[in-house]
Structure formats: C-alpha cells, structure tokens
Symmetry: C2
Subunit: 339 residues, 2 copies
C-alpha cells in the first residue's frame, strides 16, 4: 500500500513557495496488532503550520525537512487490526498532508457521522472551535453588555469567538477583509457590527462600531488591526493572544518606531491583561464542556460555521498561502478522498 | 495659619527641573466642624508622581498647574474640630508637598505609633508595600521553587516583592544598580541572588542567576532590564506590570527596531500573562490581609525595609529626580517636621 504525501523540503523564506514542498509517493508499513490503515478524507489547514515550517523557537518542534507536513485529518478506516475500529469507521487523526497512513488505533478518535458532519471535527467542533471557546471563556471572560472584538472574523476561530460572545450576552464586533465577508458577519454569523480592515477609514469605522470601548480583544492577527484596537481598549480589558497571522511570513526585522514602550504603558495605565495561549492547556478542564456546549449550539442554530473546501492534496500549498493572506472564506479544508 | 507648599507651575519636558516648581506660602482656611489642622512630618516620594506632572492619558488626572503637588504624608494633628482625632494624634493623609494642611478627619487614617514606626505607613506598610503584596500574590502567584525576578530591588516595592516571594517558598533574584545595593539585597533583604544591571555582562549574569528560567517578572522599570529578562521567561510566566520608571522621563518617540512583534510572539509561544495593575484595585479583597501579614512579617523579621530620608521640603524636587534615576537607596521620604 502506498501513500502520496507532501513533504517539507526547504524552510520557507517569507511566503511558502511550491519549491519548499515535494509530492512524494512512499510505501506504507504492514499493519501490526492495534494498527489501522486510514484513507484521508479531509486535511485541515491552519495558521499554526507556518510556525512548524520554521526553526524559530516555539511551543512545538519544527517539521524536519524531508518528512510529511503535519496536520489534523478526518479519515476512513480501510483496514483494521484493532478491536475498537472497523473498516468504514470515520476517525480524527493527525496524519499530515497525505492520502493514506497507518496509525495506532489508540491515537485516533472515532467520530459519529450521525451527530455532525465529519468535517466539523476539524473546525467548529475541533481545534479551531476549541481555541475560540477556551481562549474566550478562560481568558477573555466576556460579561453581559461588554464589547468583544475579533479579527479574521469569518475564519473558524473568529466566527466562533463572536458567536460565543453573543451567547454570553456580550456585543460582538468582527473585523474582516472586504464587503462580502463583512456582510456574512452580520447575516450568517449574527455579529452586532462588522468592520472592513481594508477600508481607507478603518480606524474611524472601528471606533464608531465600539461606542463603549473594547473589553475583550481576541488577538489572532496582530499588525495594523491590533494598532487600531489598542487605543480603544477599556480599563481591565483582556487580550487572549491566540495567533499573529499577519507576521507569520515576515522576513525582516521590523523597523522603527519601537511600539513596545507605548504598548507597555497602555498595559500599565489601563490595567490590561495580555495572555498568550495554546488551546491544549485548556483540554483537561474545558474540553468536555466544549463538546457538549458547541454541539448543542450547532444543533439549535446559535452557532453557524462556514467551510472553504479545496479539492485535491496537490492544491494544499496554494490554499495555505491563500489562508495566510486572508483569501479563504471560512475554515480551509483540503478534500483528499470522497466518501 | 500658613502652609508652605511646592506647586507645579510647568509641565516637565523630560527630567523635572527646579523651574517646573515654585515654593509658595499661602494661608489656610479656618477649621470647620469635622476638620483637623495637620503638620506634615513625612512626605512620600513615589514614581507615579511623574505621571501626574504630565497630561498624557493615565489612570488619574494630572496635577493642575499652579496647585500643590500631590502625595501621601504622615502628619501630626495640631488642632481638631473632629471627635475622632485630638492634637498629638498621628495620621496618614494625602496632603501633598507642603508643611501644613486642613483636612476632613474622615479623609485621614489614624496611625498607632506603638505598632510600627510612623514612616512605614508610607512604605512597607503603605502603598508601596501593598503594591508589592497585591501585584505579586494576585498576578504573579509565585509557587514553591519557582523563580521571581524584580528590578529596582532595594526600593520599597522591589524589596518587598523579593521578600514576600521567599516567604511563599520561591527563589528571589533582585536586580539593582551598583555593588553596594547588590550586597544589600543579599545581606539585608535575603534575596537568593543579586545582579547589577550596570555590569557590562549584565545579561550573562542574569542568565546565570536563573538556571531554571524565570516564572514571575515583577515589572517596575522596563527598558534594558526587561529586554534581558524576556528571553529567560518560562512557559506560563506571569508579568505583573506595576511601573516603567525607565521611560517616565522619555521625551522622544522611541526609534526602531520595533520590538513589539517579537514581544507579542513571545507572549504567544510561551503562553505568558502580562497584566498591568494599580494597587487600589486589590484594596477591597486584599488590604486587610496585607496589613495583618506585613505587620507580622516585620515583627518576626522576615521582612526588612530601608528608608532614604531627605530633610527639608525644599529638597523634594532634587530627591524626586534622584529617585527616577535610581540614586536613592530605599524608600524616599522627605522629613518636613520633627516630632
């Protein structure tokens, strides 16, 4: 049995290029006791993968050159030597950018295709949804009538942040790129206000959208959006720092002026809380609550989600570049196998 | 009855100059029912006062030009029209930089000169001590065997931070300017290690002093000390931001490179908590605990304190400049009246 995989073969300088990847066919090992053979149906593309392509110090080791790019997948079991799984079962795995894999059955999680569409295990009911839930509720702690702002707001994390904020009685203001996404924030996701960061008067529009200031800024982009948010933060505002996508492809040391002293002064004079996090730290205390709450919110319609499905493993590098640049519209999934 | 007061007459540009202040004699009003006439014994000088001299947005309104500089004082009652106070009583007041004042009795707090030296109400048993206690215990939350780092460590806040950290079972590392202060950190205040930020190999010395990394950095200076600390922070480290003294006299926008992106990346990848605070937010929940704990720690010798007493109101501006530059050695007090 063979798998076709996309390996990382060079460390990207700036935006990852096709030449940083290679499509490679390799044989898979024979199954041992406890193993399953998986056919990948969906691969999730997420911004954290840019960090794994680089050797800069981070919370996880980089992908070694000449090995398959990492990533979460939804797969179908096609052969099993484990009692817990049978052919036809659908599982959540971490097989990376490839068509097939052999995994230990105990390392995958069986999904119930009747409970929710299987792709949601990579989005609203998976890591991105839990990132929103854990970061917003553990760090952001929105109170009734407070104002929550999030950027990349039609993405899988941002859209969940805004909708959970509203469920908790807060006012949700989303930032997105372009009028189509801003319309979706209001019409699909039920945000209270939407602001287009590409508009020439973005700062003024944002200020107008938060007449009572900002109590929670869920940070997933950094850059110019964060600069516009900072002056509007209220005393005791909370900033869960979940990502800084705008800087992930940066190649040069930022030039001046140095904005750190002013930001620290703002933290001091407004008693701000700025807290970085990775969702896995909240798994022990919050994951069960998340699955229960989010499943119910999807069923009762209080949380909507949007997927941006690209067909074909070979299109993953281009789809990944597009996601970092904000050209996606919803959770980016690569459909690799049909079911 | 007259008071001699130091008024702010110009907004300082950079370091406050003598010409930014004026010594003025003015008459005091007659006492009304509930009033006391106070003679100032000690005036406290604290870094936050630099913020009150400027109009930059902060948590408190600036001192208006042509009015007395604000500040906490310990005073003797010399005349009373309030039942709660009698001549000879000693009180904590907020009379500012002057020799006498008329205050409402309900706005001052009576001190017990038998319980502790009266000057400590402005230092280790006052706002600076409570700043250390509240910020360290509410935000820093040092655990046994963790490492706590604090700068300006012979000052009233820093010395209390290190000593409370040790009481809680943590390792205390102090940063101070010059060998004399570093010796005092070890010999007087019982820190586990002391590092001189003026040493040419400061960064290396600091790294050597924290072999297990840094879990709590109590931020009261900013600048180059903070730059040396950041790479040494452990995952989940906490940074209570209490002050940024190194920047208080800054007159020009900082030039590049822009350090904010790297700092935000560090917050993200190490799950740091950065939290600004003003001690008053902890008063409702922590002040009684503080008075009880700190009084006991002073009595049993587990907390030492050091005062730097300057005689004469007219020397307050120079003493204030010295404090911002780190030329003081301990809590800066201006002795205005004898008792």
């Amino acid at each position: 049995m063979e798998t076709t995989q996309i390996q990382l073969i060079a460390r990207p300088h700036g935006e990852p290029m096709d030449t940083d990847f290679a499509v490679v066919k390799i044989g898979l090992p024979e199954l041992e006791d406890g193993d399953v053979l998986l056919r990948v149906l969906y691969l999730s593309l997420d911004p954290y993968m840019r960090g794994r392509m680089s050797t800069a110090k981070s919370y996880a080791a980089p992908v070694e050159l000449g090995t398959v790019m990492v990533g979460a997948t939804v797969c179908e079991v096609i052969e099993s030597r484990a009692d817990s799984l049978a052919p036809g079962d659908v599982v959540l795995s971490y097989s990376g950018w490839q068509t097939h894999t052999v995994a230990k059955a105990r390392h995958v999680r069986k999904l119930d295709p009747e409970a929710a569409p299987i792709s949601t295990a990579l989005g609203v009911l998976g890591m991105p949804g839990f990132t929103a839930y854990g970061g917003l509720l553990e760090i952001g702690r929105p109170q009734r009538h407070e104002t929550v702002v999030v950027a990349a707001a039609t993405g899988p994390v941002g859209s969940a942040v805004g909708q959970i904020a509203r469920i908790k009685g807060a006012r949700a203001v989303g930032i997105a790129g372009g009028p189509e996404k801003c319309r979706a924030l209001l019409d699909e996701f039920g945000f209270d206000a939407a602001v287009d960061h590409r508009a020439p008067d973005f700062e003024d529009q944002l200020a107008a959208a938060v007449p009572d200031g900002i109590d929670v800024y869920f940070e997933n982009v950094g850059g110019g959006v964060a600069d516009a948010v900072t002056p509007l933060l209220n005393r005791f505002a909370r900033i869960p720092v979940c990502g800084l996508v705008s800087a992930y492809n940066a190649t040069e040391a930022p030039t001046g002026p140095d904005r750190l002293p002013a930001f620290m002064r703002r933290i001091l004079t407004s008693s701000l809380t700025v807290r970085g996090f990775i969702q896995d730290e909240f798994v022990p205390t919050r994951y069960d609550d998340f699955l229960r709450d989010m499943s119910e919110w999807i069923r009762d319609g209080s949380v909507a989600y949007r997927e941006d499905v690209v067909v074909g493993l070979e299109n993953a590098p281009e789809a990944f570049r597009g996601m970092l640049a904000g050209r996606n519209f919803g959770k980016v999934l690569i459909r690799i196998g049909d079911r």
